[in-house]
């Protein structure tokens, strides 16, 4: 569908906006995790150019800095709001839903205004983002209008008076700016979130985004307190670290309003009933195994056990017993393989959980064998069947130190 262009405004019109709005916008942008997609590959804030792989090809995130030519410097607040709500850019073109406006559409006017003020206050960076690399017909933007008819639901989130204010705030954030479902809900062949399967688990950059509903298998049930701590620090001693793409989410949530993080935790915890208090009985030391090949036991003792230290609750590098690890409990090995290969490096500068990248230390065969060993020793689940293909895929995705 054709949408009209909105007149350009002079750049820097909002450069010295209201400090309070800017600060609030910064915290909301932390919840929206905007920087994760929109920071440029060399780290320039919001300057765009990062390739986002999708099943339909590669999309390059736009430059959100107030540069007039290559960024959104000429966008009025109206234009920005239309993009967030309707997925249409200033010139009237359809935006691909890799930009999750199916969630951002729920954001209030006030919140969108604050985010706009924040983005306009950032330094303008000249960065012409590459053209998207999509095959026809996906490269033909107008077809997105059809996608929106199916998947862009604009009905507002009516407050649920049977729930607390905190729960309602959490729902507003999770369904809206937080766009958790973009990763944690499975998608259909058209790339829309599967209705009826909200939070049943999805994928992000090769990693599995585990289910947030009752189908999640964990060693300990998540409580609100645990989730709040995990989301804002990237770690909890009974669950382990936020790794892969979730690490950046956690680092950003650490900068958001902590009341908002707690609200998010409240809502998410409510998605899996029985969340409060119930604890699975898990022996931290795992099972005593006989007849394991000596090579893999040597690898576990010489590499993994230095940190994944069953004797203590928390080992060096904030490693926990693998009996508690969600990755190890998953039906697929995607996350276990990736965390072993790529490690956890995101918290290095500010402090937090850490893991070396073993892809340069162990061969693919060794990684496969140690990952199966851990699965056998620390869970009652069947051996994984996808380990070798996950290792091959993970190698293609490349390591990020």
């Amino acid at each position: 569908m054709w949408r009209p262009a909105i007149a350009p405004v002079a750049a820097n019109a909002a450069a010295n906006g209201d400090r309070k709005a800017i600060d609030q916008g910064a915290e909301l942008a932390s919840i929206g995790n905007c920087a994760d997609c929109h920071n440029s590959p060399n780290g320039a804030a919001f300057a765009g150019g990062r390739p986002i792989p999708t099943p339909f090809g590669t999309i390059y995130a736009s430059n959100l800095t107030p540069d007039a030519d290559t960024g959104i410097g000429a966008w009025s607040e109206e234009a920005f709001k239309r993009a967030m709500r309707d997925g249409v850019d200033r010139e009237g073109r359809q935006l691909y839903p890799a930009f999750p406006y199916d969630h951002f559409t729920h954001a209030t006017d006030a919140d969108i205004r604050a985010i706009y003020a924040f983005l306009m206050s950032k330094p303008a960076v000249r960065n012409a983002v590459p053209a998207n690399d999509l095959a026809f017909p996906f490269s033909f933007r107008p077809i997105v209008a059809g996608w929106k008819l199916l998947f862009l639901k604009r009905d507002g989130l009516e407050p649920d008076s049977t729930k607390s204010a905190e729960w309602n705030r959490g729902r507003y954030l999770v369904e809206g700016l937080g766009h958790c479902g973009s990763c944690h809900t499975p998608r259909n062949a058209l790339g829309g979130e599967k209705s009826g399967s909200a939070y049943a688990g999805g994928a992000a950059e090769g990693w599995n985004a585990p289910p947030l509903n009752a189908s999640l298998v964990t060693a300990h049930k998540w409580t609100v307190d645990q989730l709040a701590e995990y989301l804002s620090t990237g770690w909890h001693r009974l669950h382990g670290a936020a790794a892969g793409p979730m690490a950046d989410v956690a680092k950003n949530l650490g900068r958001a309003s902590q009341d908002d993080v707690r609200a998010i935790a409240t809502y998410i915890a409510s998605l899996s009933p029985g969340a409060d208090g119930a604890k699975a009985e898990v022996a931290a030391g795992g099972k005593v195994l006989k007849d394991q090949p000596a090579e893999v036991v040597a690898i576990y003792n010489g590499a993994c056990a230095k940190c994944h230290n069953d004797r203590n609750n928390v080992g060096p590098s904030q490693a926990i017993s693998l009996a508690y690890s969600t990755a190890v409990q998953q039906p697929e090995s995607a996350n276990a393989v990736r965390v072993v290969m790529h490690g956890i490096q995101s918290y290095r500068t500010g402090g937090g959980p850490y893991m070396p990248a073993f892809e340069g230390i162990l061969t693919d065969k060794q990684i496969a064998s140690v990952v199966q060993y851990v699965r056998t020793r620390y869970t009652d689940g069947p051996q994984w069947t996808d380990v070798n293909s996950q290792i091959a895929k993970a190698r293609q995705e490349g390591a990020q130190p």
Binding site: N42, I299, Y300, N301, G302, A303, C307, R348
Partner: protein
């Protein structure tokens, strides 16, 4: 048990009691190569770094029995005919060491960069060297040494 290794261009055979022994201890205690050092044993600081098939790697979290026939290079292996290699000499000329405990790891990590990118920018050097820690605050001198070796 006996383990065969390929270290600094030579075939070596070592006798170890525990197959989980990290490569770091075998290099230091069996082969008397004191370049790689124990700083944390956790892959956090880089003092133990060696090259495995040319790739800078933490030898402290690498069980020696996992090395196989991959080629191991330590600080000593960067020398030629008993003389320091170009990067080592650059560090010596810049006096880029205070206590010097981290310096072997620094050289191994930097050498891996120069092998791939002979003339790195300051930004590339800083980002590449991020995993390596120095407590004395020799970083600025280390940057000078790496740039000196790159230009020469």
């Amino acid at each position: 048990m006996k383990v065969s290794l390929h270290v600094n261009g030579k075939a070596e055979e070592v006798e170890i009691a525990d197959p989980s022994t990290p490569l770091l201890y075998v290099l230091r205690d069996n082969l008397q190569l004191h370049g790689p050092r124990f700083g944390c044993g956790l892959g956090q600081c880089g003092a133990c770094m060696v090259h495995i098939d040319g790739r800078a790697t933490f030898s402290c979290v690498m069980p020696v029995t996992a090395v196989g026939d991959r080629k191991v290079t330590t600080l000593e292996g960067l020398m030629t005919d008993g003389k320091p290699g170009k990067l080592q000499q650059a560090f010596i000329d810049e006096e880029a060491a205070q206590c010097g405990y981290c310096i072997s790891g620094m050289v191994m990590q930097a050498q891996a960069l120069l092998n791939k990118t002979p003339n790195p920018t300051d930004e590339q050097i800083r980002r590449h060297m991020e995993p390596n820690l120095c407590r004395c605050g020799t970083h600025v001198a280390i940057m000078r040494a790496i740039k000196r070796a790159a230009v020469a």
